[in-house]
């Protein structure tokens, strides 16, 4: 039995309604857990005054410099004592999930047992960076909790100016749109940078995210410094049986209004079967005895819309890989940035190919560590120095796929033009 609950009239209002209630859950813990009782006490105070009462500090585990988010209460009485002393220390362990966030019930139960023993019993699946967040441990209990979690084969994630925990979509494990082995790339990259995760010493955070196709379910384009987004180069595949099944159910109106009208490059056409062209870059499939779909793949930007609507009838091609975008981030300090293309396409279908991605990541992080200002994200650094300089340092040839349009002003010194053209021509000849 734990100590008595405080009155929490505000939080109590979050117990009604149909959605699962975290307040009810914490109250369940509070039946035999004083830390949960005091957590509710402090949270009720926040709801009353509309102020937060946690401050950071310095807590960690032996051998690592990051991965624990320290929280000490700032809600003190007149004598400077914590008002809610059993939650006065309420640290979080950030633990890296397996790629795709797959678990079996055995491992989840083990997590529960460990966190019931050493922590508050509150676990978040997952934080915004992808970590399993074991929320609420005293300073003393952080180490034994980590030791037991670590013995299960799980490791701390990143915090502070470090390579951060990564996320990848369900991907190849259960999705037909997957264009590379997300889990393999995810592990290969992140497990290369464990030192940069566990011992924060970069100018600022660096995030990787892995999405298997351009639907970008991991939101990698705006949430990661390096986004690895699956795509393909060859023609879209088709399945006539599924195409006809789709059409029988949805009809011509939906095919025209929901697919043709939404194609961003208008390369998706519906035609009478006799008028459908064939050719090296043409994908076509009959949807009925009279009509079919024709797509010129050279005009397709791999947006995924038609594949999303007619899944199975249409599918990504066979020559799969990924596009790499660099520099995504949120508002601070210069405003939100989307990642931009630095590698339009790379294969990721072998150990050697994945190793090339790891090598690029390594060189990017080395350059970032060397050249970014303190608290400057990769996207801000590239904005400051210009993409061309970054590409030059990475030894990547420029490519028109990297821009939405060429330069719109004359404010550039171009006396190296002939030299650049000669270099490009020499490379073309050598290839």
């Amino acid at each position: 039995m734990a100590k008595k609950l405080y009155d929490t009239p505000r939080l109590d209002q979050l117990e009604s309604g149909p959605w699962p209630s975290f307040v009810t859950g914490i109250k369940e813990l509070a039946k035999n857990n004083d830390m949960a009782v005091d957590l509710l006490g402090q949270l009720e105070a926040s709801y009353e005054t509309k102020k937060g009462y946690w401050k950071g500090g310095t807590v960690g585990v032996f051998g690592y410099g990051g991965g624990v988010i320290p929280r000490f209460t700032e809600l003190k009485d007149e004598n400077g004592e914590a008002k809610y002393k059993d939650a006065a220390e309420f640290h979080t362990l950030r633990v890296m999930p397996p790629a795709g966030m797959h678990y079996d019930t055995d491992i989840l139960r083990k997590f529960c047992d460990i966190w019931e023993k050493h922590g508050s019993g509150l676990i978040a699946f997952h934080g915004q960076s992808g970590d399993i967040m074991f929320q609420g441990a005293t300073t003393e209990n952080v180490q034994p909790a980590f030791d037991e979690i670590n013995e299960l084969g799980f490791d701390l994630g990143g915090a502070g100016p470090a390579v951060r925990t990564s996320m990848s979509c369900v991907g190849a494990a259960r999705c037909e749109q997957s264009c590379y082995d997300e889990a393999k790339a995810h592990r290969a990259i992140i497990n290369t940078f464990l030192d940069d995760i566990h011992r924060p010493s970069l100018p600022y955070k660096f995030k990787f995210k892995f999405s298997g196709c351009p639907n970008d379910c991991m939101n990698s384009v705006q949430r990661s410094d390096m986004a690895v987004i699956g795509t393909w180069r060859d023609n879209m595949r088709t399945d006539e049986a599924l195409a006809k099944k789709w059409f029988a159910k949805h009809g011509m109106d939906e095919l025209v209004n929901d697919v043709v009208a939404h194609c961003p490059t208008r390369t998706f056409q519906v035609k009478e079967l006799s008028k459908i062209k064939s050719g090296e870059h043409i994908t076509s499939v009959a949807v009925s005895d009279t009509h079919g779909v024709e797509i010129n793949n050279q005009d397709c930007v791999r947006c995924m819309h038609c594949i999303n609507v007619m899944t199975g009838a249409l599918a990504p091609g066979m020559d799969k890989g990924a596009t790499i975008l660099v520099g995504g981030k949120s508002h601070l300090k210069i405003g939100g940035l989307m990642g931009t293309v630095v590698i339009p396409f790379m294969k990721l279908d072998s150990d050697e190919a994945v190793e090339k991605l790891v090598d690029f990541a390594q060189r990017t992080i080395d350059f970032f560590a060397e050249n970014a200002l303190e608290h400057e994200r990769t996207g801000e650094m590239i904005e400051r120095i210009g993409l061309a300089n970054f590409l030059d340092a990475m030894e990547i040839d420029v490519d028109p796929s990297m821009v939405s349009a060429p330069r719109m002003n004359p404010y550039v010194r171009t006396d190296g033009w002939d030299e650049e053209v000669a270099k490009i021509n020499a490379k073309k000849q050598a290839a």
Partner: protein, 364 residues
């Protein structure tokens, strides 16, 4: 370094730097068998995905909402359901929904019944309003302007039916953020704290707590400068420049930005990460000045429900919120939602000219 002070350092256990564990050990056997070889999927009903592999194998996934911040009893309850009604393998989505995979269609209905009976709504697939991307707030953050879990709970109670149905024009992703850093990320609709007054500085503490050059450098508009106040080294703010973003608060807690009254909530719409149809888009602010009215934030819920209701009524199939506004235009968006278009919604940050209308394209 940052480790706990140890009485006997020699006795400390060295970490095993194992990194990201291999997910193969946790995959459903059918997912491991058909890894990279799935052919297509459909959705037999809201909350259920049915995937078919090239091998002919089929797998059904049942998706349910959770509160994200879960107590161990809730997690054990979900494990028991997974053991009794599914096949002991689960995964979580990026929006904290839990998924149960089964190899037999017959298991789907009893699994759904048990989840709903146990208080976990089944849904969040396809063109539903799925669970809100969720930050930490008052529960655990050191700089929050509001709570996260409470806002999410209050809103999901209101959007419960839309989570369990697939009746929206396309999928709807929501996020909340407890400060302007926007950890919740881009979404079709986002609720984000918007401070309206400059930080209040406790000059007695600045010298001891803050690395002053760092704080000066952190300000996006160079409004902070070092100053002596009451004989102590501190910082001062040019309040005519300050835009109240709160960027100085994390490196310098004595510069308190949060205020019970003046920290408001803003609504943003039209963020999209997917490349489907148009390129990914950032969301745009469409409302602000909403009170931080815990514990149920009714004013915020009203605006959110209004926008989603108009979108549901007016958008065509497959139009995300951003696609819909692209078609109808911003004037019509404000007209249809009844939201006031104020001068604060005209962008004046860097790159803002791209957001002005440099044409005569106007819908009347």
């Amino acid at each position: 370094m940052n480790q706990v002070v140890a009485e006997k350092p020699a006795a400390k256990r060295k970490p095993k730097e194992t990194g990201v564990p291999d997910n193969k050990q946790f995959l459903h056997p059918l997912m491991e068998k058909n890894y990279g070889n799935w052919k297509y999927h459909d959705r037999p009903r809201p909350g259920v995905l049915h995937h078919v592999a090239h091998s002919g194998d089929e797998i059904w996934t049942v998706r349910a909402g959770t509160q994200r911040q879960m107590d161990v009893h809730t997690i054990r309850k979900l494990c028991q359901i997974a053991d009794d009604y599914a096949e002991s393998r689960v995964r979580f989505t990026i929006r904290s929904n839990i998924e149960f995979m089964v190899s037999d269609e017959k298991k789907v209905a009893p699994l759904i019944a048990e989840l709903e009976k146990s208080g976990f709504p089944v849904g969040g697939t396809g063109n539903s309003v799925t669970m809100i991307a969720h930050t930490q707030g008052w529960l655990h953050c050191d700089i929050p302007g509001t709570d996260a879990s409470g806002v999410v709970k209050a809103l999901m109670d209101e959007l419960y039916d839309e989570f369990r149905r697939e009746e929206m024009p396309n999928r709807v992703h929501l996020s909340t953020s407890c400060c302007e850093i926007n950890c919740g990320g881009q979404a079709d609709l986002a609720i984000i704290v918007q401070h309206t007054k400059p930080p209040v500085i406790n000059h007695d503490l600045v010298a001891n707590v803050c690395e002053r050059p760092t704080v000066v450098a952190r300000c996006p508009v160079a409004a902070i400068r070092p100053a002596m106040v009451n004989g102590k080294p501190s910082l001062e703010i040019d309040e005519s420049k300050c835009m109240c973003c709160g960027a100085c608060y994390p490196p310098c807690p004595p510069m308190q930005i949060n205020d019970p009254e003046y920290s408001k909530l803003a609504i943003w719409v039209g963020g999209k990460n997917s490349n489907a149809r148009g390129k990914p888009t950032f969301m745009k602010m469409v409302a602000s000045g909403l009170p931080n009215n815990a514990p149920r934030w009714p004013e915020v819920a009203a605006v959110v429900k209004n926008i989603l209701g108009v979108y549901k009524e007016d958008a065509r199939p497959w139009e995300r919120l951003a696609d819909w506004i692209d078609r109808i235009g911003w004037p019509r968006f404000f007209e249809k939602t009844g939201l006031p278009f104020t001068k604060y919604l005209i962008d004046d940050w860097r790159g803002s000219r791209a957001n002005l209308n440099a044409s005569t394209h106007i819908r009347f």
